[in-house]
């Protein structure tokens, strides 16, 4: 199933590149901001203060509160 059929488009998707492949929204629209966010998330998951199970439970609970299904 194509990407266009599986998601609701809130903003126009980036145009496909020369090989016909569509870049990710992050790479096409906000590469610096997205890279900074990735760096933060990588740093957070490496923190040792909270065990991985509790971290995941907190993450899932936050997602439920935000009605986030990804």
């Amino acid at each position: 199933m194509s990407e266009e059929r599986t998601i609701v488009r809130r903003i126009p998707l980036p145009a496909p590149g020369p090989e016909g492949k569509r870049p990710s929204l992050a790479a096409a629209y906000a590469p610096r901001l997205s890279a900074a966010l990735d760096g933060y998330q990588e740093a957070v998951v490496l923190l040792k203060g909270l065990d991985p199970v509790t971290t995941e439970l907190v993450r899932l609970r936050c997602a439920r509160l935000h009605d986030c299904h990804t």
Partner: protein
């Protein structure tokens, strides 16, 4: 040059989670160097009002300070819907910011479209990412304050 990040957040993360602190600094530097500083500062301040974050309202990030935002806008921000000082683009972004803080999952296509009339898709994507950084920082600052108490922040 001083940081774009709240001194409380910077100092707390430096003490307890330095790797995450460095990443937060990079996020905010990217946001202020990418998004229009006047727009970002108006939204940052409106967000602080909604969070009841007086410390955030009292400080001015370096890029915002150099943007030269008219006093009428800063003074009228609490009642922006009724103030003539704001552009239609600023109004759309302020309304979007309020939704982002109050109920992010309640944002509709109409809310997105109202911002898209003024910002292109790439600018909107960057703007929303920057809102995330600002919102996260203000919530962190307030949480740190409640959990750890007032922190001594180096001048």
């Amino acid at each position: 040059m001083s940081s774009a990040v709240s001194p409380t957040v910077s100092a707390t993360l430096a003490r307890y989670a330095p790797e995450a602190g460095a990443a937060v600094e990079a996020m905010h530097a990217a946001a202020w160097e990418t998004i229009d500083p006047t727009l970002l500062e108006l939204c940052r301040r409106r967000m602080a009002m909604l969070h009841g974050d007086r410390a955030e309202l009292a400080r001015v990030p370096p890029r915002a300070a150099s943007a030269g935002i008219p006093t009428a806008k800063l003074d009228g921000l609490a009642n922006w819907p009724g103030s003539p000082a704001f552009t239609t683009a600023e109004r759309a972004c302020l309304a979007f910011t309020e939704l982002f803080v109050a109920e992010v999952s309640g944002i509709t296509q109409a809310d997105v479209d109202s911002v898209l009339e003024h910002l292109g898709p790439a600018q909107l994507y960057g703007f929303v990412t920057a809102l995330l950084f600002l919102d996260q920082q203000q919530r962190l600052r307030i949480a740190f304050d409640r959990i750890l108490g007032p922190l001594e922040v180096p001048a």
